[in-house]
């Protein structure tokens, strides 16, 4: 636990020591706000942050791979992974420390967008329940994306490769949960298959939590999803010790 915390602190700090944190944060927030502000304000009397949280998942597909691509690939390229793995820490402690540092960083970036709902709340009657639900859902959703991106990053020392693999897999995951695709698929797929495929996508659970309804099953899903990819991540690192 202590060891994970040390890794967590270093990782989080290193975000802010490099330009990545600032460029990434400012770009993501700007794009999100720019993309959603107009729609949000055109709504007139009805104050809602739906448009904003509607754009968020897609933006995360584009941005999270940029954030996660370096997590292991860079350590491998620099050789710091070798040193890291001769510290008295387990692979799980390393993986968890890194994972939560990225989640925390993304959480901070999301927090920067709080101005939008605050503005809406000041000028209209805003229902805060879905807003808070959406923030929570976004964080969990982003976390699951980070777990996927981090896994890809552990497989290669080339950051671009890690980014492309993450981008494609996140896009596929997102599309699996897209209601439009579900409709199309139900024309030719048996209903049970559609449910199964749809059930894999974090997007489905994002929508559910974002409504402000907190269902344990959704949380269990995110925990399992992240757990699966983080576990895969530890296996890759362990295999590397074996193979050299």
């Amino acid at each position: 636990m202590r060891e994970s915390l040390v890794i967590f602190r270093r990782e989080l700090r290193s975000y802010f020591l490099s330009p990545i944190a600032y460029v990434f944060g400012i770009l993501l927030v700007s794009v999100l706000l720019w993309y959603s502000t107009e729609v949000t304000l055109q709504n007139g009397a009805r104050a809602s942050a739906e448009a904003f949280f509607g754009t968020l998942p897609f933006m995360l597909i584009l941005f999270v791979p940029g954030l996660t691509m370096r997590l292991w690939a860079e350590e491998r390229k620099l050789g710091t992974l070798e040193l890291l793995m001769t510290f008295p820490v387990t692979i799980w402690q390393l993986v968890l420390g890194k994972f939560f540092a990225s989640v925390a960083y993304l959480g901070l970036v999301l927090l920067l967008t709080i101005g939008l709902p605050l503005t809406l709340g000041a000028y209209g009657k805003l229902d805060w329940t879905p807003v808070l639900g959406s923030y929570l859902a976004s964080l969990l959703f982003a976390g699951s994306f980070i777990a996927v991106g981090m896994f890809w990053s552990s497989l290669t020392r080339d950051q671009i490769v890690a980014m492309l693999l993450s981008l494609v897999s996140l896009f596929v995951l997102y599309q699996l949960g897209n209601p439009l695709n579900i409709e199309l698929a139900s024309d030719w797929m048996p209903a049970s298959m559609v449910d199964l495929v749809n059930g894999i996508s974090p997007f489905k659970y994002f929508v559910s939590i974002a409504r402000g309804v907190l269902d344990t099953r959704d949380f269990v899903y995110f925990a399992c999803f992240c757990g699966f990819f983080l576990h895969a991540n530890t296996l890759v690192l362990q295999a590397r010790r074996q193979r050299g």
Partner: protein
């Protein structure tokens, strides 16, 4: 302190280590020598818990490197070959992180870092970003990182590669100081480094140990060298007399003729009784002038070349 038994490591089909065994006592400074690709780094990576061996056993400070990897990693300091560092961090931050992760209690951290900084001569750069440092300073940060938690065993993989001669001397001095408190295993291509700072030498080549002993032992075991003497006197006569003195079949050659003297070279076979004095007496007795008498001593370099080239050539012929 370190026990290695028939250690093996394969990367795919390539066998990097073919069952090496050695042991290191507390307080020794071991020079781990070998050409590129001999298996030095692989051995270090296994002993530091980074890689898992494919066969054999190894223990460091009484802990098995596979079964008790974490316990091993708690008692070692390691400087990997390329000195990997987090460039974006400041020197003091980085050392703090290393002390922290190595479990140095927060009460002791300050003094531990100060000690490492002092030992490695980093006082002037503690506030700088690592990426801004020169190669020599980076190397010292790498060393500081390895010793900040005062580990009983230190592994240094080519600690002086890529440094300029002044920096090499400094790092070497540092290693000598470290050798007083720690057990050190140090790999290198630079033979002078071993001659200066190591108490024992292990030479590996193509995944096997080809020599293990003190420098004196290794040099003495090397067949050897020759004698060169410069004499002013009648050439044929001198040559005949020298040949008579030596055991039959010892080659004597004329190296060089100068205006008034001749250089003779006597190839001394291994195990031959010393003949320097007898040669000197012979020359003086005959009334010639002995201008120079020099013994070509085998150096560690000769030993290294002989052992590593020999194996390579045998492999070629096989």
């Amino acid at each position: 302190m370190i026990e290695v038994e028939r250690l093996e490591k394969s990367y795919g089909f390539a066998r990097a280590l073919k069952g090496i065994s050695f042991s290191v006592q507390k307080g020794e400074v071991i020079g781990f020598l070998g050409p590129n690709g001999a298996g030095k780094s692989t051995t270090m990576k296994i002993l530091t818990g980074y890689l898992l061996p494919s066969g054999g056993r190894a223990s460091v400070a009484g802990h098995d490197v596979v079964e008790k990897s974490l316990a091993v990693r708690r008692c070692i300091g390691y400087l990997p070959e390329s000195t990997p560092l987090y460039g974006e961090m400041r020197v003091d931050e980085y050392l703090q992180f290393c002390a922290d992760i190595r479990g140095v209690s927060s009460a002791k951290q300050k003094s531990a870092i100060a000690r490492a900084v002092e030992l490695c001569g980093l006082q002037r750069v503690t506030g700088k970003n690592i990426v801004e440092l020169s190669k020599g300073y980076k190397q010292r940060v790498g060393l500081a990182q390895a010793i900040v938690h005062e580990p009983p065993v230190l592994f240094l993989d080519e600690p002086t590669s890529g440094l300029d001669p002044n920096q090499i001397v400094e790092v070497r001095k540092l290693i000598e100081r470290l050798g007083q408190e720690h057990t050190v295993v140090l790999s290198t291509h630079y033979l002078q480094e071993v001659e200066k700072s190591c108490t024992r030498v292990i030479i590996v080549n193509q995944g096997v140990i080809v020599a293990d002993g003190t420098q004196q032992q290794l040099v003495a075991a090397q067949p050897g060298g020759g004698l060169r003497l410069r004499v002013r006197g009648p050439e044929q006569n001198v040559l005949a007399q020298i040949c008579e003195l030596l055991p039959k079949g010892t080659p004597v050659t004329i190296d060089k003729r100068t205006a008034d003297a001749v250089d003779y070279r006597v190839d001394v076979a291994a195990g031959m009784a010393p003949i320097d004095e007898a040669l000197a007496r012979l020359v003086v007795k005959n009334g010639w002038d002995l201008l120079e008498l020099q013994r070509d001593r085998a150096t560690l370099e000769d030993v290294f070349r002989a052992l590593t080239l020999q194996v390579q050539q045998e492999a070629l012929h096989a």
